[in-house]
Symmetry: C2
Subunit: 250 residues, 2 copies
DNA sequence: CTTGACTCTGACGTTACGTCAGGGTTTACG
DNA sequence: CGTAAACCCTGACGTAACGTCAGAGTCAAG
């Protein structure tokens, strides 16, 4: 290297420096993402400082999970970073929602396997179908934003609070059922207390949001039998009791 | 179809019934995952009931995000579902951790774009590198299980509690710095109160877990300057003050 | 008998490279 | 100065799960 030579990297050097493979650099060259600004007479790639700089920019953006073609468009000024990042964040949000539900579903099925609930492959498949049906049903009634909203609410409340609410429902439903069986008057103080707890648990779910409340009610109304039979939901008698108690309050 | 014909589906019928495309069924056939047990003379695929049954099993497992080859191994009895689901759950957990950090990083950078903090592309890239460096550093000191543990703690506490702790740190650091500047005696009641709050915030992070505490301390010790300069961490004087206060307590 | 709907078998494209294969180039060492 | 090791080159196939033609045969209805 003589004195007038500007700094240049052969592909192996650059690969070692960046932690990439030579193949990856070939790939970027092929895509036109990072192309060496010179070659030796024998065809060896020579990366100049500006090329290396561009490569490091690519690597930074790649770390955020952006696709290479999008990175190329940003570096060539065809797209603004702001736009790209916003779109990417939304994309990741959707991925996150999907991945979370998937992992929850797999966890349910795997757990059933360990407790011996699902003995045969057939049992597993039935459970899987059930779990998926639930998800499909929910997706029918709640929009994407609403699901994100619910996820946010869960994160805000924290897991213990969620678990508490989930444990409270069967208890409360059983208590109301007992009150119905005992012929308790929906206008009585006892019934009012049950109804208040009921509305409180519902409140925990929708947080006062009209949209969430409406979607939940519609989902329940149109799937009441399923929910009662398969998921321990309230019977029509229980629902009527709560409605009557609420009506009596006013 | 004569009386002795058993039920059979042509590929288009089966596709319409399952919501798949013909191409997907071709693909499954090619992989040996679901192969029609008969063909017409002219080579049309004829799926028998057993084939359709197998296809529905494939679809159920596919809904859980399992790769087709793994599904094939399960249906052929080469792997147990339990094993596969457990492995898959762990895989999804890892994906979730990665996706969550990624989305957090992108959110940070995108937010900086909206607040005008990052004006030029260069600023963006600097911020990205900073965010990624933080993540890399954390990954050096915390094992995968520890990170999962931390994620669980965050979920347990809920977002508001986390936000509170994060907001409390700069306040407390400033308060301690003020005490140092004012020459407050580390043994004094005021210092003891600050130290108690300090240890309380730390407790919020590690929850009493020795491993987390140790990892955090090591990370701080080996990156104190970075943390102070780049992330508003405590100065050595502040740290000494807290140490002295803790020593005085005993 | 013709036309439209259906089916067949390749084969390429997608994403970001990994992994050879076959063949030149450079460099260090004896 | 010769040679072997190390390095570089250009294809080209493989990955996951299909989507999307292309070109050609088959079937059912009018």
């Amino acid at each position: 290297m003589t004195a007038q030579d500007i700094r240049a990297w052969k592909i192996g050097q650059l690969a070692a420096e960046t932690g990439l493979t030579v193949r990856a650099l070939h790939h970027y060259d092929h895509l036109g993402l990072v192309q060496p600004s010179a070659r030796t007479d024998s065809g060896y790639r020579l990366y100049a400082e500006s090329d290396v700089e561009r490569l490091y920019r690519v690597l930074a953006l790649r770390q955020l999970g952006l696709p290479l073609d999008a990175i190329g468009r940003v570096l060539d000024g065809q797209t603004s970073i702001e736009e790209l990042l916003d779109a990417h964040r939304e994309y990741l949000d959707r991925q996150l929602v999907a991945l979370r539900t998937l992992r929850a579903q797999v966890a349910i099925v795997a757990a059933a396997g360990r407790t011996g609930e699902a003995a045969s492959v057939t049992h597993f498949l039935e459970l899987i179908r059930k779990v998926i049906t639930v998800d499909d049903t929910i997706k029918q009634y709640f929009s994407e934003e609403q699901l994100a909203q619910l996820a946010e609410r869960r994160a805000t409340l924290g897991e213990p609070a969620i678990a508490e609410v989930q444990a409270a429902w069967p208890r409360l439903i059983a208590a109301v059922q007992a009150a119905v069986d005992a012929g308790v008057d929906p206008a009585s103080a006892q019934a009012q207390e049950l109804a208040a707890e009921w509305m409180g648990l519902l409140q925990q779910f929708h947080g006062g949001d009209e949209g969430l409340r409406g979607s939940l009610y519609r989902m329940y109304a149109e799937n009441a039998e399923q929910i009662e039979a398969q998921h321990g939901g309230p019977s029509p008698a229980v629902m009527d009791f709560i409605k009557a108690a609420n009506a009596a309050r006013n």
